[in-house]
């Protein structure tokens, strides 16, 4: 009897240890894969710096990878990525955050139950479909309405990316706003504040870290998005002088050129180096998001 009990304990401990190990291995797998991808990108990208200096690569104004002699300056691509992302943020932040406030604070329960899944459904639309929509519907529309030479431009791309980041921003912001405790809300009302004052002065500050995190996650989705910018940004490697100029963001350049770049040639290395730059951008975004989430961490009852 005692013996049997002992075996059971040993057996349980054995299982416990193995469960822990299995979960550890599974958890490390994704990190390991990420590490491998990073090593690979850096190994394939760094050789380009034998041909062109880091400064010339990042600040060079001309991207002519296949001409003789080739020029590898990705400054227009970086400017394109940043400007498209910034403009898309201008579109998606008010849209996303205000939708979130409406859903969390103002909308009736039934409305929220219908609208929130629908906004999230927007995230489920494949980017190629959004790109196609931008190319076939939005581009001719922009040409007619704004009388611009081409509808495949920075503004079109930013608009499409804006739509794509709205669900991310809205959904995470809504969660943050909803998690502001009832007590704070009621305290504000008790002090005689109106609903609007409560939203602006109590609820928004309390959920700020969640909102900012959502914005940065939305933006890092926009900067890395490939298919949409490949289809609607126009693809001209120039530094835009207006929002209706065609541009060529980094992911579009990589996606369009990788297939035809001679394997392990300078162009190939340059595209991987562009990938490193893009990786650094998203890394910086994520670090900032992490930092803000930590610094303005909601404390007390309103912890997310």
């Amino acid at each position: 009897m005692i013996n049997a009990k002992k075996t059971m304990t040993v057996n349980r401990q054995f299982k416990e240890v193995w469960m822990r190990r299995i979960f550890f291995v599974i958890a490390s797998t994704s990190i390991f894969i990420l590490l491998l991808i990073m090593i690979f990108i850096f190994a394939e990208g760094i050789p380009v710096f034998k041909k062109v200096s880091l400064i010339d690569f990042i600040f060079g104004k001309y991207w002519y990878p296949t001409s003789e002699p080739p020029e590898f300056g990705i400054f227009p691509l970086i400017v394109a990525s940043i400007s498209v992302t910034a403009l898309s943020a201008v579109i998606s932040i008010p849209l996303g955050v205000m939708t979130a406030i409406y859903l969390a604070e103002i909308a009736a329960f039934k409305v929220r139950e219908i609208v929130k899944p629908m906004v999230e459904l927007l995230a489920a639309i494949p980017s190629v479909v959004i790109g196609f929509f931008g190319m076939v519907i939005v581009s001719p529309f922009l040409q007619d309405v704004f009388d611009v030479p081409t509808g495949l431009n920075l503004f079109n791309a930013a608009l499409m990316l804006g739509f794509m980041s709205v669900p991310t921003i809205c959904s995470i912001s809504e969660d943050a706003i909803s998690s502001v405790p009832r007590a704070m809300r009621e305290a504000s009302f008790a002090l005689g504040a109106t609903h609007f004052e409560t939203i602006v002065k109590v609820i928004l500050p309390a959920s700020l870290s969640g909102i900012i995190t959502s914005i940065i996650l939305g933006m890092s989705r926009a900067i890395g998005e490939t298919m949409v910018v490949l289809m609607v940004a126009g693809g001209a490697t120039m530094i835009p002088s207006s929002i209706f100029d065609p541009v060529r963001p980094m992911p579009a350049s990589i996606a369009a050129e990788m297939a035809e770049a001679p394997f392990r040639g300078d162009h190939y290395y340059a595209l991987f180096a562009t990938g490193i730059v893009l990786f650094c951008f998203t890394l910086i975004f994520n670090i900032i998001a992490d930092h803000i989430a930590y610094k303005y961490k909601q404390t007390g009852d309103s912890t997310l």
Binding site: W63, P246, E260, F263
Partner: protein, 272 residues
């Protein structure tokens, strides 16, 4: 002991399944240029109809990938819309393989504009000036006062390479040109934009856009074969060393009158 024997039996069983699987179905893998893809696709369909035990798998990925694939022997045939480059030859030498080119068709690249554009003919000199950014307005070509939207292909595509060589005489396309990723995208963009000029393989030409004559010559099968049309190029299939077995038969099929009629029906210019 029993466990080990069981494992051994299973292993032998699986091995025999796989080997017989390989023996009964010949497989040809084709990769490379999206320009050559429609030719390979049509020929493969016809070939597999004729020989049901041969399986041909085809994927795109571009000329560079096609040539890379036959050098590192991950495919039997590499499609390319350009000839092999010096660097790729060197890579092949390092790997100790010999890439063999087969010319399978001609491609003819025609400049296209929106169907409402009343321009009919354009000279190579004018085309070069437009793509260099020297001519910026349609009125300089006798059209309405509208900015020209210049549409080009990505600098790494085979189509661009031909344009770069035959039209631009190796000068650069100006940075303000829109670079699109495929022939289809150019047709789409030009058909939706009355200010646009672009260029496409003749196989992609349809009624939604208007083809211009170049130096007074219409791009067609006849003018490409006779060499009069200035913007044309041969298309290749590469193999690793001289092809053997089914790969050889397939290449022969592509070059046969049957195969060449398929080249014609996919919109390219056959060899004869």
């Amino acid at each position: 002991m029993g466990k080990k024997t069981g494992f051994f039996i299973v292993a032998v069983f699986l091995a025999s399944i796989f080997t017989t699987g390989f023996a009964s179905a010949e497989k040809i893998i084709i990769k490379g240029s999206t320009t050559v893809l429609p030719i390979a696709q049509k020929c493969a369909e016809a070939y597999m109809l004729d020989k049901p035990d041969v399986k041909i798998s085809i994927s795109g990925g571009g000329s560079g990938n096609g040539i890379k694939a036959i050098i590192d022997e991950t495919s039997d045939i590499g499609n390319s819309s350009r000839f092999i480059k010096g660097k790729e030859v060197k890579f092949a030498m390092d790997r100790g393989v010999y890439p063999v080119p087969f010319r399978v068709a001609y491609d003819c690249i025609v400049p296209v504009v929106h169907s409402s554009n009343n321009l009919e003919n354009i000279t190579l000199v004018q085309l070069r000036a437009i793509y260099k950014g020297a001519i910026k307005n349609w009125k300089e070509l006798g059209g309405p006062d509208r900015t020209i939207v210049v549409i080009s292909r990505d600098t790494s595509s085979g189509t661009y390479e031909v344009w770069h060589k035959k039209v631009m005489k190796k000068e650069r396309v100006f940075p303000g040109a829109l670079l699109l990723a495929s022939n289809g995208a150019i047709v789409q963009a030009v058909s939706k934009n009355k200010n646009a000029v672009g260029y496409i393989g003749i196989g992609y030409l349809d009624s939604s856009v208007k083809a211009l004559t170049v130096n007074g010559i219409k791009g067609s099968v006849k003018t490409t074969l006779s060499g009069i049309f200035p913007i044309s190029r041969p298309l290749f299939m590469f193999t690793t060393g001289w092809p053997k077995g089914e790969t050889l038969n397939f290449i022969n099929f592509v070059l046969s009158p049957n195969g060449q009629s398929l080249v014609r029906s996919s919109g390219y210019v056959p060899l004869y």
